[in-house]
Amino acid sequence: MKLTKDQVKKVARLANLPLTSDEEDLPEGEAGKYSEQLSRVLEYIDQLNQVDTTGVEPTFNVSGESNIMREDTTVASLSQEEALSNAPQKKEGMFVTKGVFEE
């Protein structure tokens, strides 16, 4: 199938991906480029429809493992300093982001 420019924009929103030159009056903006590229990939992928998968169980994991669990014991956490060491912005021992609406 094809992915239209609008679909690309919708998907980008869902994926929290800012697209550059996304202005409506720029037909060759990122949405246009991705619409074309992703459509080609999706058209290729559409050949999956030729495969009969009736009664075939899906494979989600190839490790062959199951019931991998651990005992309920603790180990030392990172220090506050280590936890925050890569944060671009920090305040009062916490990470900082632009204000979000209190839910």
Partner: protein, 459 residues
């Protein structure tokens, strides 16, 4: 138009989602301490719960066992194969950009819980997931503490079976009691150990006319759910939950009466203004893109494990309640109070056991404990002593006292003669006789007139 008349034409349709934070030592998918409450921010984190690149989850077995216990207590069946999935959405408190949760393959499904009013609430699922971090809003900025990130949460989802607010309250209280009995959570609402979300909608009750025409088609119409659902979120007390649901029912009925069309939305409760408000509308609804968590192999819970977990569970509050009624001849109300906490119930059973040896009746102990609001810490001997002293152990039944008095009279011919001859003090001898016969339990205040009455007859 009064609210009552309006209600007569509508009925609420309510489903409940309860989240409970488990009190495991470590978090759900990492080995950080889960005891985060009141701790310095970001001191209980590691690459896993911070969502750093390269970090991977690893399942805490105790959490899974707790989840299964909750499921079993709610009569669920435990899925032979269950899987974790990723629930994808963006929010600053969600470190990985997805929550590891369960969706298509939950641990426990198809349970039920019977309420005090006899109604059976169907439980759709009991599943395992993880908590998010905490946000603090400050001068246009948002600060984030990830100490809570990854703490195990169990979610219990009902079918939309509630038709009144009282039933919702009863259900929520019962769950809280269950969590405490099972010892899986403190279930403290204020601390956020237990969180409630209600899905509320209303529908017209079918008219009297159609009730008569009770065709199968009509039945189907009645079972149809309203075409919308309002999700009430972030309710942190039973009182607020009741208030929010009541407000919402009224609001929705009024809107429908005005001919408005209600739609899917998420609303919060404003405790100050005592009203609900829109948090997210349908247009902004999430597309969570659930898919199986590739970092975690599936769980295959064997029957034998389920059996052993089941046998490790304590007597559940509702079973205890029923047993107290039957075994101790308590009223439903009495049994409910005494089984409110497992601690009180155990304490009461201790009292009954010891009191029984001293001939003190369970009902009397129950009355005393309830009336005097005796706490489970109080010394058992002291309480039993007080019950006796207060006369709670006394024989007060007049027929029984008469029998004892008659016996004492026939044993003490001399005292009877003395009394007849005018010696009032001889009555004390007879009273002493009754006390001896009753092992000191006869109610002396009632004994004197009984003896006087009997002595008049004796000639």
């Amino acid at each position: 138009m009064t609210g009552k008349r309006t209600m007569n034409n509508y009925e609420p349709v309510i489903g409940l989602e309860v989240h409970v934070e488990l009190n495991t030592k470590s978090k759900m998918f990492c080995r950080c301490s889960a005891d985060y409450f009141g701790k310095e921010p970001n001191t209980h984190t590691c690459p896993v719960c911070l969502g750093l690149p390269g970090a991977l989850p690893y399942i805490n077995q105790s959490a899974i066992e707790d989840c299964i216990k909750i499921g079993l207590a709610l009569n669920c069946s435990v899925s032979p194969i269950s899987r974790f999935e990723r629930k994808n959405y963006f929010y600053p408190d969600l470190s990985k950009g997805y929550q590891i949760s369960q969706y298509r393959w939950p641990l426990c499904i198809n349970g039920q819980l019977t309420l005090d009013n006899g109604q059976v609430i169907r439980i759709n699922r009991v599943h395992q997931e993880e908590d998010t971090g905490k946000l603090f809003h400050q001068e246009g900025q948002t600060l984030i503490d990830f100490n809570r990130s990854g703490v195990p949460l169990v979610e219990i989802v009902t079918e939309p079976d509630f038709r009144d607010v009282e039933a919702v309250r009863d259900y929520a209280k019962k769950l809280q009691q269950l969590f405490r009995y099972l010892g899986v959570s403190n279930a403290d609402m204020e601390r956020g150990d237990m969180r409630l979300e209600a899905n509320v909608s209303v529908r017209k009750v079918k008219s009297q006319k159609s009730k008569v025409k009770n065709t199968s088609q009509n039945l189907k119409v009645e079972e149809e759910l309203p075409p919308y659902r309002v999700e009430l979120k972030n309710i942190n007390s039973f009182r607020f939950m009741v208030a929010a649901i009541e407000y919402e029912i009224k609001r929705q009925i009024e809107a429908l009466e005005k001919g408005e069309k209600l739609s899917q939305e998420t609303r919060g409760w404003n405790g100050d203004k005592k009203c609900t408000y829109v948090q997210r509308s349908k247009e902004e609804a999430h597309d969570y893109r659930y898919f199986p968590e590739p970092d975690l192999p599936e769980l295959r819970i064997e029957e034998s494990r389920v059996k052993s977990l089941e046998s490790s569970m304590p007597e559940l509050p509702w079973s205890k309640n029923k047993r107290f009624e039957e075994e101790f001849k308590l009223s439903t109300a009495q049994a409910k109070i005494l089984t409110e906490t497992e601690e009180l119930a155990d304490y009461f059973e201790g009292l009954v056991e010891l009191g029984g040896k001293e001939g003190i009746d369970a009902v009397k102990i129950a009355n005393y404990v309830i009336n005097q609001k005796i706490g489970a810490g109080t010394s058992v001997e002291e309480v039993l002593g007080k019950i006796k002293a207060k006369g709670e152990g006394v024989i007060g039944d007049e027929r029984e006292l008469e029998k004892l008095a008659q016996e004492a009279i026939s044993e003490n011919e001399k005292a009877v003669a003395d009394y007849k001859s005018g010696k009032e003090a001889a009555l004390q001898v007879l009273i002493g006789g009754v006390m001896r016969l009753s092992k000191g339990k006869a109610d002396t205040s009632k004994l004197k007139p009984i003896l006087e009455k009997l002595l008049k007859v004796v000639t």
